[in-house]
């Protein structure tokens, strides 16, 4: 019919190739595929600040984004489903928060809120399953894959198999650092990072890499164990007094790297400091739910919560760094009123109680940590060193030459790595499914993405096998929800099994009234871009 409006030409925003070849390739393939539906989509690859600025800050603008490649990466605390389930899709975060796609569903909001306060794991899983299914039905996002994380180490320098895999994170984790056994006279673990390290500061969540360091220099009360659940660490034990009260018993005999003992006072300070959102803005969300703390004596600290929260152990007790009050207290006091906050602290000493002590950091070169032999769980290596190598080619080169003996940050082509492993023969390669995932986001605020059928068609047009095999070169598993199969407990079985294909997509569109004229897709009769 004559009055149907043509679907406009659109851009698929993506990051430049160097930032990750696989998603870049995926974007190219997706654009090529979707164009077969009669769309006109070009890939617009730009650096992160530009892409994020458009997608995030300009989400409400008149002429904003349509499609964008996006990713969520793995972090230990993401082992709990709450963060993704709530923050990514709850309508309260649609305007300014992480729900940048503008997904608004009261049914979903209800589920998201409910899983948060449901303390019983099985009941909670039910709710999380429902949430996953609802998102799939609504085609909220076009989930693509959960990448496989690639790590490798030199098994002439480390005992083969002494690395420990943590669910959704791979072998790059504290458990490996503590457990890995150096052999043949080697004493150092030399890790590598593609990103630049921005800060090593217990009050600052800066770059992703930085947390690898803060995590092992500073202890936390709990730690996420290899199985993905929080387990006691600096806390000897914990005990839920009721749904809003928890008692934590501090391990005795711990000391700071400067030799002073770790006390309950330090623990309370560590959680109180971030409550000042101006002083410690990055950590303050994690302690928001704490109403008060009490020193109960006998190394016991009681946390009184404002509301019950299933994720409290993971996102608060296993998140907040324990810091010595005698050292950081005065520093923070001196910062008050200066306009600067705790994130600007440039320390001469970095004092924690963790299994590794800070030794040296030469910016854009390397960080050196040393084993804390007095720790209750001392590492077997002597030093933990991380080289900052900004490009994957050089990083791989150094790994092959043994200048790096543990490949911790490999974002390159997995096939290349596989080749090298094969050639070398002395490399242990470990692949793990990521907690994080890669997806293509659609802007629900704008036509045609406000139409669930259109979203479904777009999502189902993308052959996930092609994504896995072509874009990720087999180095990924298909994704169907925001919960990775790595979190086997919360992952909804069968959510990744759905039909895809260009014909299916065409049929969905046709059924919904879309037409193709002169090779271009047109809206159903009466639907127009502008509302």
């Amino acid at each position: 019919s004559a009055s149907a409006e043509e679907v406009r030409s659109m851009k698929l925003w993506a990051r430049e190739q160097a930032a990750g070849p696989a998603p870049h390739t995926a974007a190219l393939i997706i654009a090529q595929t979707l164009n077969e539906l009669g769309l006109d989509i070009t890939v617009n690859a730009v650096p992160w600040p530009q892409m994020a600025d458009q997608v995030w800050y300009k989400r409400l603008d008149e002429d904003t984004w349509d499609l964008t490649m996006w990713q969520m990466v793995s972090r230990p605390e993401r082992s709990d489903p709450d963060e993704f389930t709530y923050n990514l899709f709850h309508s309260s975060t649609a305007e300014k928060g992480y729900n940048f796609i503008g997904y608004v569903s009261s049914a979903y909001d209800e589920l998201a809120e409910k899983q948060r306060v449901t303390m019983d794991p099985d009941a909670r899983k039910q709710i999380v399953d429902q949430a996953q299914q609802l998102l799939a039905d609504d085609a909220a996002n076009a989930y693509l894959v959960h990448p496989l994380l690639n790590f490798a180490y030199d098994n002439t320098q480390f005992k083969d198999g002494s690395a420990i895999e943590q669910a959704g994170l791979g072998i790059k984790n504290i458990w490996t650092y503590l457990n890995i056994e150096p052999i043949n006279g080697n004493n150092d673990l030399v890790a590598q990072s593609l990103d630049e390290i921005q800060a090593i500061n217990p009050f600052f969540i800066s770059g992703g890499t930085d947390s690898w360091i803060t995590e092992i220099v500073w202890d936390r009360l709990l730690r996420i164990g290899p199985n993905g659940t929080p387990q006691p660490w600096a806390a000897e034990s914990f005990n839920w007094v009721n749904e809003q009260t928890i008692d934590v018993t501090l391990r005795s005999g711990m000391s700071w790297h400067d030799g002073q003992p770790v006390t309950t006072e330090d623990v309370i300070f560590s959680f109180e400091a971030p409550m000042d959102a101006e002083m410690v803005p990055m950590y303050s969300p994690f302690v928001k739910n704490i109403d008060s703390m009490e020193d109960m004596g006998n190394n016991v600290v009681r946390f009184n919560l404002k509301s019950s929260n299933a994720a409290f152990l993971t996102s608060t007790l296993a998140k907040i760094n324990l810091v010595p009050k005698h050292y950081y207290g005065p520093i923070i006091d001196s910062l008050k009123g200066t306009g600067n906050n705790a994130e600007t602290i440039i320390e001469e000493k970095r004092i924690g109680s963790g299994p590794f002590k800070f030794v040296d950091w030469r910016q854009r070169e390397q960080v050196i940590l040393e084993a804390n032999s007095g720790h209750f769980n001392p590492p077997k290596i002597n030093r933990w060193i991380m080289k900052e190598i900004p490009n994957v080619e050089a990083a791989l080169g150094m790994f092959r030459k043994g200048e790096v003996n543990f490949l911790t940050d490999y974002k390159g082509d997995p096939a290349v790595l596989a080749n090298i492993v094969e050639e070398d023969g002395d490399i242990t390669l470990v692949k793990s499914v990521d907690v994080g995932f890669q997806y293509m986001a659609m802007n629900h605020r704008r036509a045609p993405f406000d139409d669930v059928n259109f979203r479904r068609a777009v999502s189902l047009a993308i052959d996930r096998d092609v994504m896995v095999n072509a874009a990720w070169a087999g180095n990924a598993v298909k994704a169907g929800s925001h919960i990775s199969p790595a979190l086997s407990f919360y992952h909804k079985d069968g959510i990744t099994e759905f039909e895809t294909g260009i014909d299916l997509a065409k049929k969905i569109l046709e059924d919904a009234g879309y037409t193709v004229k002169n090779g271009r897709l047109h809206y159903p009769e009466g639907v127009s871009e502008k509302h």
Binding site: W48, T344, I346, K387, I389, G397, V404
Partner: protein
Amino acid sequence: MFDFWSIVRRFLYMLFVLWIVATIIFFMFRLMPGSPLTAFIGTTFTDEQHDLLVKRFGLDKSLFEQYTLFIVNTLKGDFGLSFTYNKPVINMIIEALPNSIILTLFSLVIAYIFGVIAGAYLAWKRATFIEGFSIPIVLTTRSAPEFWLGMIALAFFSFQLDIFPSGGTSAAGVIYETTLSKLTSLHFYYHLILPSLVLALYLQGLPLLLMRSNMLEVMQEDFVTMSKMKGLSSWRIVIYHAARNALLPVATAFTLGVGFAFGGNVVIETVFSWPGLGRLLVFAVSSSDYPLAQGAFIFLTAILILMNFLADLLYLFLDPRVSYKTKN
């Protein structure tokens, strides 16, 4: 010879140019697409955090206010805090600067020593078979993108032959107590060799060709003919008379080259993971870290301008025709 005030005047003029450049750069960054705040976006990134950042970065102020603040602070030598590192920009620059300086100087010195000698030699071998194939080779090395040469050098010398490290300034775990101890350690120079050779390969063309054509020109001068008439040996003529005169412009080109190579090292620093000023700038620009990018850029500019200035002074020292006024 020349008086103090003349240098002061010239120096003030340099500051003026620097100010203009700083202003241009300031506004370019502010009007650039993309936001420095995107680096902080995360699932737990809240509105309050956002507002705090805006305030701390001073982005809530008007552009004009930001500008005056920037100029005033810069005059005080304060380049502000890096958005991403939360560190004073000046500290970061000072940390990166020696690496860049050493890389640049080292490669320039290699390039110029080689270029001058080879240039003089080729001038001597004019119209021979040697010249016939040398010149195209020199022109070709000048035409190759530095990073490409770097890639090939890495693939070959480091990955294949394994004689040089593949990047950085030191091997894992080596701790330098001070910058000085770093710059004096052999280990550092071992890492320096490959990048500086690649850079030198690229840079040697200019002095070589310059030296050659100067030599050819000088060899035509009457005073060289006169030296022949005086019965002086050809060695003495070539070295003492021709080369000395031909070197004048090469020496100035060297100074200018320092400033130029400094800015051009960005790509080599990237290929060889060299923690220098150029890479810092690239990082800062791509992450919209305005203060850091501004600081790095202004430093690069200052070095360039300073080198231009030094080139003038150097010429003054080297060429008696400008430094010694005619007596009346």
